[in-house]
Symmetry: C2
Subunit: 223 residues, 2 copies
């Protein structure tokens, strides 16, 4: 390998380092509170170096956002292998919670941080993998509705997707924000995820369906 | 009224102004990112003035926290007038969502901001009104369990309280963080709250009880 390969490798490695540090800072402090100078200081480079890789803070943020939603969307899309929409819904919920715990900085940046005003039609998140993971959820609630699996009165797949997402997001975000505080006798995170999924499925399915609720398959026992 | 009354009134008014501005800054930027100097600048006083009212940033934060959880807890406690635990559970959920929308800075500070490490047994939130509002929720799930209103298999009132809370918190926090973003076709906030409460109640109640689910009473139509 010649020196050009080496330089390109070094350039990509530095770019990845900048992004990793920036993700952490944005996740911990919020987008507004972080400056390019702080990111540079954190990786011990000059701000000038960062500007060789990213036009400005917004550019850096959207690159991160784009990368994170893409890998998240790809991970979630694996549940498409599950044909039954009810079983798929449960697996989507479990996979989402597992992603959040194994990618806490990603999760904070993606779902717990206000994003800067999108730049109109160029908004790189629009129609991108978050929309895809969301679209995957809507496809799943729509399929369950069409198969008559949900109780009478439920009919809007978007509304149902939004409350299922919210329920899981609530368990995850309370854990990430307040899980360390001792004044709530928190039950183990995995128990809360399973109980929430049980409540969601019993809450949506028609009575004759509730016996078919797939058994929980805890993936990890995080206390 | 003499000058001492006037001075005391002015002192309290300034203290309230400091707290209001600090709540907003903490809610927007997070506890870590805010300095006493920034709070002082925002109200156009010297940092010295703030230190006449609060020992340090942590003291100011816990005073805010204490005040907010107290008034929140008092508001929530009004649902104790409802004897039926299932109707009370629904009303608690509605009241919680309504509080969040009418007190967005309070809500962000209380439930969406990581709090500084509590100072051990002096932690002013411990056993305080948040624990009280939480305790109120646990009392309600326990009562419903004892009355045999929930489906078989549900038995831990703390776990149930934690997932009911999480579900509402999820609807609220997604709204506060991402509700302005256009790439999700958000249904109206109030519709999401009602649908989530319906899912929660259908998800917890035994089948013979679901006909008794109290009708929704939307309080406000916020699009």
């Amino acid at each position: 390998m010649g020196p050009i390969d080496r330089r390109e490798r070094e350039r990509l490695a530095l770019r990845a380092r900048i992004m990793k540090k920036a993700r952490r800072l944005f996740a911990e402090k919020g987008y507004e509170a972080v400056t390019m100078r702080q990111i540079a200081e954190a990786i011990e480079y000059s701000p000038r170096t960062i500007y060789l890789h990213f036009k400005d803070k917004e550019d850096l943020f959207w690159e991160l956002c784009s990368e994170d939603f893409r890998s998240f969307g790809e991970g979630m899309a694996q549940v498409l292998a599950i044909a039954d929409p009810v079983a798929r819904l449960r697996q989507l919920g479990s996979a989402y919670a597992q992603f959040a715990m194994s990618h806490q900085h990603h999760y904070r940046l993606m779902f717990m941080t206000r994003h800067p005003e999108p730049v109109g039609p160029q908004d790189p998140c629009k129609g991108n993998p978050e929309a895809d993971a969301y679209a995957l959820l809507v496809v799943t609630t729509r399929e369950a509705l069409e198969q008559g699996r949900f109780r009478p009165g439920l009919e809007d797949p978007e509304l149902l997707a939004q409350i299922v997402w919210a329920c899981l997001h609530g368990v995850i975000s309370l854990e990430l924000t307040h899980g360390q505080e001792a004044y709530i006798p928190w039950r183990p995170f995995q128990a809360r995820v399973e109980a929430a999924l049980g409540m969601v499925l019993h809450g949506l399915l028609r009575e004759s369906e509730t016996e078919s609720i797939p058994p929980s398959k805890p993936k990890r026992s995080r206390p």
